[in-house]
């Protein structure tokens, strides 16, 4: 990631230098130009060698295509593995079923290691790691089914630990996101179970998801992982959990555990939602976490529109309702624009 950014900066520098010299005339003496170009060429060759980066716009487009193909391939191969097993498992005796299910994730791990050694871009390693994860999830589900065991949040702990270890070892951001999701489900499910309820009821206790999501964001800010991009991924997935929980709490008044009246709970969580969204935007801008910033803006707009619908749709004339929504969008744009200007001044 960092290597690609450096390469992008070099490409941008070269393009801008051409533009500048077109408008202002030559800026670098021939020896300086030769030195800079030689240095950049050497650096790009080194980065290409060590990280297999894209050094041109066309290569970058191809890299994006590879990433999309890798993601689609991961999902479809996972589906293929799961469906293939269920298609033919009736022909195997129980020990063979367990053997096949155990071998699946292990073969996937072997393929991940093999792919990671062969290519630096990790497109195939991501695919193999994803299939390995799916095979492990299938093994837990199917072996649990063979013995009729009830579902348990502990399975998500195992899945989360597996994804986390793979993400850390091979630097796969997608698996890190999966790990955060699994570990959150484990945490929230276990806490729900401790309260005496069935663990699968955790979506009905959105305050726990809110707490877990905010803890992930806090962790990513206070103690960010050393690997580039990992703190951003953790914060974004945590923020997604928090946002979903706040949407439910702001709209479904009976979902809160707070011993307060419905109106107070609703108002409280709308305010918390707005504050959290503004915080997410500020954090995204400060750390240059684009997805967090964009997602927080989207969440703010969605929350405000959903509440507007909740409060006013029934009694307002439709033209007035949409006018109010339009004005809210304008106010949001003005606020964001001011925020942007202030950020620019601060720089």
């Amino acid at each position: 990631m960092e290597a690609q950014r450096r390469a992008d900066r070099i490409r941008a520098f070269r393009e801008e230098l051409v533009e500048l010299e077109h408008e202002l005339g030559s800026l670098l003496s021939p020896p300086d130009r030769t030195r800079v170009e030689a240095y950049h060429d050497g650096l790009l060759a080194e980065l290409r060698q060590s990280h297999d980066i894209a050094t041109s716009a066309a290569e970058q487009q191809l890299s994006l295509g590879m990433r999309i193909a890798s993601l689609v391939g991961t999902v479809t191969l996972c589906a293929a593995v799961v469906l293939f097993f269920y298609r033919y498992w009736g022909r195997l005796l129980t020990p063979a079923q367990i053997g096949v299910l155990t071998a699946g994730p292990l073969i996937g791990l072997g393929l991940t290691e093999f792919a990671a050694r062969r290519e630096r871009t990790l497109y195939f390693a991501v695919l193999a790691a994803g299939v390995s994860f799916a095979a492990f999830a299938l093994a837990l589900t199917a072996i649990g089914g063979i013995y009729n065991l009830p579902s348990s949040p502990v399975a998500y702990l195992a899945l989360g630990a597996f994804a986390l270890v793979l993400a850390g070892s091979y630097g796969i951001g997608l698996l890190l996101a999966v790990a955060v999701v699994c570990l959150t489900i484990f945490l929230v499910g276990a806490l729900t179970m401790l309260s005496g309820a069935s663990w699968s009821e955790f979506p009905s206790v959105p305050e726990l998801s809110l707490l877990a999501g905010l803890l992930w964001v806090l962790g990513a800010v206070v103690r960010p992982p050393a690997r580039p991009g990992f703190a951003e991924t953790i914060a974004e997935v945590g923020a997604l959990f928090a946002a979903l929980a706040l949407l439910v709490l702001g709209l479904e008044r009976d979902q809160s555990l707070l011993p307060l009246s419905r109106g107070v709970v609703e108002g409280f969580y709308v305010v918390v939602g707005i504050v959290a969204a503004v915080g997410g935007i500020a954090l995204g801008l400060r750390r240059q976490w684009t997805l967090l910033q964009t997602g927080s803006t989207g969440f703010l707009v969605l929350l405000l529109f959903a509440k507007a619908f909740d409060w006013w749709w029934q009694w307002m004339p439709r033209y007035l309702f949409f006018l109010v929504l339009g004005l809210m969008a304008v106010v949001t744009m003005v606020a964001l624009n001011r925020f942007r200007r202030r950020t620019r001044t601060a720089r």
Binding site: G110, L149, P150, A155, S198
Partner: protein
């Protein structure tokens, strides 16, 4: 392989070993009486295009809805399953919780008429409680009663708040490949309180 890869291998092996051990310990109970259920009546074979193994048998209970397998239980009180009784008209409903149900074959319905040409299930819920072990002590005859884990939830409708069986744990029993699919399947509760199919017969 890098160290993280070996840790991942260990996670896979330990997790699968833990599940297999739990399952095998549950089923390592002494032989004896079991609860015989008719396949196609109290147990239906789960089949779809992708899983044609015929190894999954689902409990069939009389439900109030053809869409959902949820069973309303008007006779059960909230305190029986450790829930506080909620207000009838408004307020937060208690969260669904794990409990146990006692299943038996309804003797009155043994000769029940068929529905759409299929024999109807005679399974009936005779008791519900927060503690499956206590239920097993109250209904000790494994040939007449089957105690199964369950998730019990609450639902508010026009007649107030009622308890319903949201889920049996398990709803679906695995028929080991070693056992042929026949007309009758014997379900036994294991040492860990988990039911399993121990035998089949014509």
């Amino acid at each position: 392989m890098r160290r993280g890869g070996w840790v991942a291998v260990a996670i896979v092996l330990v997790s699968i070993a833990a599940i297999v051990r739990t399952g095998m310990r549950n089923q390592a109970s002494p032989s004896g009486d079991g609860f015989w259920l008719e396949v196609g009546r109290e147990l239906e074979v789960v089949t779809d295009d992708e899983d044609n193994s015929g190894q999954m048998l689902r409990f069939v209970l009389p439900t109030d809805s053809s869409r959902a397998r949820r069973v309303v239980m008007p006779a059960v009180r909230f305190e029986d399953v450790g829930m506080a009784t909620p207000a009838a008209d408004s307020g937060r409903l208690p969260l669904a919780r794990a409990a146990g149900v006692v299943l038996a074959l309804d003797s009155v319905a043994v000769s029940a008429a068929t529905k759409d040409g299929k024999p109807t299930s005679r399974l009936t819920i005779v008791a519900v409680g927060a503690d499956p072990a206590a239920l097993r002590a109250r209904y000790p005859d494994p040939g007449r009663f089957l105690v199964v884990g369950a998730v019990i939830g609450a639902r508010r409708d026009s007649s107030g708040v009622r308890l319903l069986l949201q889920e049996l744990q398990p709803w679906v029993l695995h028929l080991p490949t070693e056992l042929p699919l026949r007309t009758w399947a014997m379900v036994r509760t294991g040492a860990g309180g988990i039911p399993f199919i121990a035998a089949t017969r014509r």
